[in-house]
Symmetry: C2
Subunit: 173 residues, 2 copies
């Protein structure tokens, strides 16, 4: 989810049963789609993505993450600030839709490009075998914004976040 930052080696250990890396595909001219399977039931993946004390343990990929706001309801605001060796990066947005266990949709904006929000939606699919597939889409205002995000190292940063989430799910199993 920490999509706009450069890739760097993650400090979170990989879970031994970590699924394959998430693959980012482009759809249309200003969207991306990301599928990722997690080795945990849907309720635990949902909690890890919606409870602030859990989000703080993986979203920042091992960096300190301050959750300034996380009003998990339609119209609520969120704001996360990551403190890394390379500086302080703020991210924020507003929740468009929350459907527990099923779907979260929100705007996503990085302080480095203020006023350039994307719409980020995650859908949670119970695979029936104790695993959960998360299908994320991000829609940007323009093709240039989408391509700029991809070139900024989005895929690497996202996989680092997801590896840290794997580790969290493994240790809280």
């Amino acid at each position: 989810m920490t999509a706009t930052k450069k890739s760097k080696p993650t400090t979170a250990p990989s879970a031994p049963t970590a699924p394959a890396r998430a693959k980012i595909t482009t759809t249309g001219d200003r969207e991306v789609r990301i599928e990722r399977i997690f080795n945990a039931p849907r309720e635990r993946v949902w909690d890890a993505m919606t409870k602030p004390e859990l989000v703080a343990q993986w979203w920042g990929r091992g960096n300190k993450l301050v959750i300034e706001r996380m009003e998990l309801k339609r119209g609520g605001h969120w704001r996360f600030v990551e403190h890394s060796d390379h500086g302080v990066h703020g991210f924020e947005g507003r929740y468009r839709e929350i459907k527990p266990m099923e779907r979260i949709s929100m705007t996503f904006e990085w302080d480095g490009m203020p006023g350039y929000p994307a719409v980020s939606t995650a859908a949670f699919e119970d695979l029936g075998d104790g695993r959960t597939k998360v299908i994320s889409t991000m829609q940007f205002f323009t093709p240039e914004e989408r391509d700029g995000m991809l070139q900024s190292g989005m895929e690497g940063g996202m996989n680092e976040s997801y590896a840290a989430l794997d580790a969290l799910l493994a240790r809280t199993n």
Copy 2:
């Protein structure tokens, strides 16, 4: 600028020299463009659109307007709340670019549709005869959001705001 509300009769008197109503035209499939001439020099129109104590006098079309935030700089946030007989309507966003006397670009979101921002840009053109042309564009995420905004009475609400702005410019001449 109060773009998402139903048209209602303005309580602000029309300036005797009020220019023609603003015309909204559509460009592409998810944008609108609005041109409007004001009978005042560019610096006074700029001030009326950027100084909170002046914005409060016209943006709400005669309704009470509370300016909760107006951090007029790149990355700053704004939030206006209009209190009318029909309820309380909040609007907010973040400034993308401020170029004094020339250009303001920001996101624009109505509390009634949270998480559905548009990008609003206003350019100020000195017509050389004491008048100023303001060219505004709004870009929406989708054609449906653009068309929904148009159908919500955007043109009427905007013309009420601009009529109130005419009146402000006339009385502070």
